[in-house]
Every structure is written in C-alpha cells, then in structure tokens.
Symmetry: C2
C-alpha cells in the first residue's frame, strides 16, 4: 500500500441489530460506509434476535439436561445463519464480503462446553480475506476446542469474541454497536439530566458493568484492558453516525464521578449474634465460594458480649441457596439466618474520586436529604456503593445524580 | 472384539423423519434398537422439515441472487440443528451419541458451491467415535472444500452423503428411511394390487428413480452401484421393524417386470417437415445440450419427399426454453415447432425382460385394450417407455400393472 495507512476496525453487532432483513440492511449500510471511508473492516455478529432462545426451546423439548457438547453444536447454528445473511446484505450493497464461522476465523478455545475460554486466535484466514479487500464477517460466541468440537463462550460471548479478535489483529478500534448510543452518567430513560460520556476508563467501565449498566459484557472489558484495545460503544440505530463513548486506558478530562447506577438484582443475608471467635467468617464464606456463589458487600459488626453480627449481599439468584448453606453450618446452630430480597445497591463510579475525599459525604448527604436509610456501605478506589430499600432506589439515583451532575 | 463380528450399519433419515421432537424421538428409538442389537451405528440426517425452505426464504428477503458460497454457509446450519437435536434424543434414550458436521466427519468436496461433489471422506474421527461405542450422527448434504469453505451437495444430497459414508466405512448396509416402506411395483396409493418388492437391482432402481418413483436420489443409487453398497429402503414410521426393499447388484428371484411407473413431468416437442439432409439432428440436439437441457425419448420419421419429422421429450421445466432454442435455428426457419405438455410417460422396468421378448407386446396389448394411443416408444435393455396423453396415464398404469402382476 506504499506507506498509506489503512485503519483496521472491528465492528460488533448484537442479536437485536441483526434481528431481521431490515436491520441487517441497516448494519450492511454502517459496514459499507466504514469500508468506503477506506478502512479494513472485520465484523463480529451474534445470532439473530430470538434465535438462541428458540434453539434452547427446541432442545428443552427433547431433554431436560442435554449434553453440553450438543448444546454448543446446536447454538452455534445461530451465528451461522446471521453471518451468512449479513454477508449477503453487504454483497448486495456492492461491497465484497465473506462470512467465517468461529473455527474458520481461527478461534481456539478450551473444551469447557457452554462457557469456553478463548486460548488463541489464528488470524491467517482473516488476514487472507482482508488482503483480498473483503469485509470479513465472523461468527461471535463460538470457537473450536482441541478435540475439533464446536464450543460456545456463554451468553454475552460475542463482545468477548470481538475484543479478542481486535487484540489478535492489532485493530485500531473495536466498535461495539448496541441499542443505546453510549455510556451515560445514569439510565437516561429514568434519570432526567443523565449525560452521555464521551470517554471513560476501562476500570470505570468495569465498575459500571458490574453494577448493572448492562452496556458491555465484563469479560470483554477486562480483555480490552489487558490488551489495550480501544473500545467504542455506540448505537446501530443511529447508523454509526453519532459518536458513542470511548473506553480506554486514560481519559484526559477527569470527572469526579462518571456515573450513578442501581442494581436490584441483589439480596442481603444477615446472621445476628454469631459467636465472636476466630474462623467464623472463613467458615461462612469458604462454603459459599465452594458452591460458586459470589459475595459482594460484607459487613461485620464489632464484637460485643461475645457475639457479633454478619451481613452480606449475593446475587438474587443465589439468595435461597446461600441461606440454606448457612442454615446447615454448625457454628450458626440456633441462630436466625435472615434473608431480605427487598434491597437495591446504588453506586457512584469515577476514577476522579481517588483524589477527592468529599465524594462519599456528598453522596450520603443526597440520600439523607431524601430521608433514605443506608443499610450497608462498600467502597473501592473508584466507587462507592450503598445498600438501601429497593423501593427507594430510583429516588436515590435521582438525588445522587442531581448532587453530582447539576 | 476377539473375533466377534460387529456389523456396521449406516442409517439415513430425511427431513420429515426428524421434523419435530416427537419424530426425533421415533428416530432415536430406531437407532437405539439397532445399537442395542449389537451393531455399530452411523446416522446421516437431513435438516428438519421445512428448515431449508425457511432459510432460503430468509436469504430471498436480503438478495435476489445471493452468493452461492454464502447460501451454502446458511443452509448448512439446517443440519447442524437436526444432528445436535438427534444426538440429544439418542442420549436421552440412554445410548451415547455424538453429532458431527460434514467437515468433522471428513467430507471433502470440490468447491462448486450449491452442487458440490464429494471428493473423499477422511473417516478417522468417525472411527474414533465408533471405537468409543458412540452412535455417530453425521450432517448430510454438506462438506468442506479445499479453501476450508462449507459446501452443500444440492437437494437430495443427504442420500448421497449416506451412501458415500457407507462406502468409505465399508459398512455392511446402508438403510434409507423414508415416508414409504419400500419400492413398489407401482404407486400403492393409486394402483390396486401394487406389491412391495423385497429386492431390486441397482440398474432397476436407477430406471425407476429416473422414471419418477421418487424414493431414492439417483446419484446415491449410482454411487451405491459403483461401490457395491447394499441399500435398504424402509419406513421410519414403522419403527424400522418392517423389512423394506433391498437394492443390490444381483437379485436371485428374477421377475419379468419389477415395476410400472408414470412420469407427468415431461413435454413433447415436434417439428414437422424438416429438410432430410445430414446434420439436422446434430444441430438441434447439440444446441439443447449446450444449454444443459436433457432430452429423453427421441423419434425421427423416415425421410419422405425430401422432408422428415423430429419429435423428442424434455422435462416440463425446460419445455419453453427448448422450444425457443429451436425457433431460432436457421435450418428450422418457417417450420412450426409444436409443444405439447399434455403428455405422460409410462414405463415398465425389469432386468428379466432382457431375456423375455414378449414384454413389449404384453404392454402394448394392455394399452390397446384400454383404447390408449401410443405417441412414442423408447426401450432400453431393462425398460420400455411409452408416451401417451396425460389424462390416460393412471388408466394406463393400472392396465399395464394388471397385465404383469395379476
């Protein structure tokens, strides 16, 4: 190319972006515009709309617990349909495009069917197609293990496929197209005055993702951070013309707080009057960890009269199981294990707060002004989370957002 | 296995046999019974019911003429769904089963997308799975070309996949499960007294297939003949318990006539008064061949007064195109090219007739007794075909069948 710099862009489109012929044509337009602007383009696609759910329903008619290997074989058909249809739509738009299954695009995974991890990506075929000036459409979510069996990366895996491929190809940018046009300071459908962020750091995005912003799959952000892949979150409905939110290592304009989120998918478990002897916390949390139950906020009172209180939060889907596990512990015999699912976690996230000690008190003041009681508090270097009653969550987010952004 | 003989059986099930969960369970039962009886079992499956048509409709929404490579990618998803669901159903029946895509089962094809031909089958993976006592479910209709692209064999290709795999594995038998329970002396839904044949030769089956018996794809019978694969045609609805029709090289009990068929998918084209000079037939039929139009029966009258008449039959789908081609030939200028689509071909097939010269006259007598006029006659070593008016076809088949089988 004689010294001319050709940018390589990876674009990822989710299931709703390719749900039908009209949406596919819309995506073809975005891809074609990028190609015509002079970039090499690799596109990673999920299965169309409800395809994955439909295939799961078909399997459920046959078996309660189908072999995971066969589930992966079944589900991988979903992207095979969407990649070939998108390749047709792009060819129809006058741009040469070729579709590749996960294994054809070189995705090698481990053999943990249903939740496989990418081990390596052999990019020869993708490079070959790019050298022929083809747009390359790659099936997200899937790969091949060492037994030559099809594997899937689990739900949300297409984001990870896109970021991993961008890293392997040393792409200049990885654009993740979604239903929203970027990352906001709060949920724009609910909070008046929520602002779109032009840029955000990986760490901030990780905290936001964990806290329920539901924009980007966490694993993909971790991978982007590890391999320094510049991400952009933007809307496929806006035709790719409206700039989204850039996710990268360092963001110049530091804001005190980057966003306010709520997470109602949480439950609190408390045990009152536990013996104040060493090893209690270990016994409780090792048992939960052994069952794969992630614990979020943990609060332990100071021992008094030989007893102490322990509270923690878990994902609501694990709440009953966690309560049962605690009920069987010898050290908790005769103690009440109380489960409260009527709680929500509200958090503020921002790399700026590291150097601004006033953030926490500003948040607490906003909650106090709304007469909202704080049950638990947890902090990290770049976030502050509080647990409150679920029915106060929206009011809390509004008040906190107002305090920081108006 | 210490001298114990383990039979290897390839079983092929078409799209309607695996159309839904209930049908899949029925197929799983047949396969499981075969496995439990002590055989190694390899199963070749088509896409479920209307899946292929649904996928074609999806493509049609996107492009009038989608790239064939992408169509193959799209359609191959159909069998990926059916093989994994069938593997689940067989596992659910308590038998270990594993599904393999065409490329995983080693199907190497040429790169004629949409109508690829099998070049070789690397059976290592299938043998490995069989050695683990797995039932192996293989996606029919598909393979991989030298560019590592997915290819399809064209419609009806699953029969060919099954026979080719049976040949490569040196299977003891290849069972083709269909909606009918065997090959009959005539269409049993229409002809009273039609009898199921217990056995038939490859050549007889080829003639019957060509003539519209619609039981087996012709290419698969040719391949079975070439590699001496013993075929059995039987019904999936009967649970595999009712013996079907065996297709093999030599059938001991020779019958004069093996079956009577009709084919209404035919049209007659006639040109009257063609100059009786050399090269006329060549000019007509080379032009048709160049357009890929197959001509079946050809009839040329003896020259008289410097002219002759030429008639021939073609598939009804090519009739108008053939008429147009003839209309443009210089040697036919000013002559009427007459097309008659109201015709049917009725044939008797049987390896026995080679040595029984009376077959033709017996057939003609039966037609005469019904007052049916014969327009054209064509014969081969093992068949006699006549062209008659379409509305007399059913009556003709009945009369001829009665003459030979009652």
């Amino acid at each position: 190319m004689g010294g001319i710099f050709i940018a390589l862009i990876v674009q990822k489109f989710g299931g709703s972006s390719v749900a039908n012929a009209e949406r596919l044509r819309n995506v073809a337009q975005i891809v074609s515009d990028t190609y015509r602007a002079g970039s090499d383009v690799v596109v990673v696609v999920s299965a169309q709309g409800d395809t994955t759910d439909d295939l799961i329903a078909k399997a459920a008619e046959i078996a309660v617990k189908p072999p995971k290997r066969e589930m992966d074989m079944l589900l991988a058909a979903g992207e095979e349909i969407s990649i070939s249809l998108l390749a047709m739509a792009i060819n129809e738009a006058g741009i040469p495009a070729v579709s590749l299954l996960g294994w054809q695009a070189g995705f090698q995974t481990d053999s943990k069917y249903g939740a496989a991890r990418i081990k390596s990506i052999q990019t020869d075929r993708v490079h070959l197609e790019l050298s022929r000036k083809h747009v390359v459409i790659v099936a997200g979510f899937q790969g091949l293990c060492k037994y030559d069996d099809i594997t899937t990366l689990g739900r949300g895996g297409s984001d990870t496929s896109a970021v991993a491929l961008a890293a392997a190809l040393h792409a200049d940018k990885c654009q993740i197209f979604t239903d929203v046009d970027g990352v906001y300071t709060a949920d724009p459908r609910k909070i008046e005055g929520a602002k779109k962020l032009s840029a955000i750091t990986y760490d901030e995005m990780l905290e936001l993702a964990t806290l329920g912003a539901q924009v980007l799959n966490n694993r993909s952000v971790e991978m982007a951070k590890k391999y320094r892949v510049e991400l952009e979150v933007l809307s496929s409905l806006a035709g790719g013309k409206v700039p989204g939110t850039i996710v990268k290592e360092v963001v110049m304009e530091k804001m005190l707080v980057r966003g306010v989120t709520k997470d109602t998918d949480t439950a609190r478990i408390s045990v009152i009057g536990v013996s104040d002897v060493p090893g209690v916390a270990y016994q409780i949390f090792s048992k939960l960890a052994a069952k794969g139950i992630n614990v979020d906020i943990i609060l332990q009172s100071i021992g008094r009269n030989g007893t102490k209180d322990i509270s923690f939060t878990v994902g609501i889907g694990h709440a009953n199981e966690a309560k049962e596990i605690l009920g069987k512990l010898d050290i908790l015999t005769n103690l009440d294990v109380v489960l409260d699912t009527n709680v929500a976690k509200v958090s503020v996230v921002g790399a700026g707060m590291e150097t601004h000690p006033g953030t926490a008190s500003k948040m607490f003041e906003a909650l106090y002004s709304e007469d909202i009681n704080i049950q638990m508090i947890a902090t990290s270097e770049i976030k502050i989370s509080v647990l409150i009653k679920a029915d106060a969550a929206d009011r809390a987010v509004s008040a906190v957002h107002r305090a920081f952004f108006s």
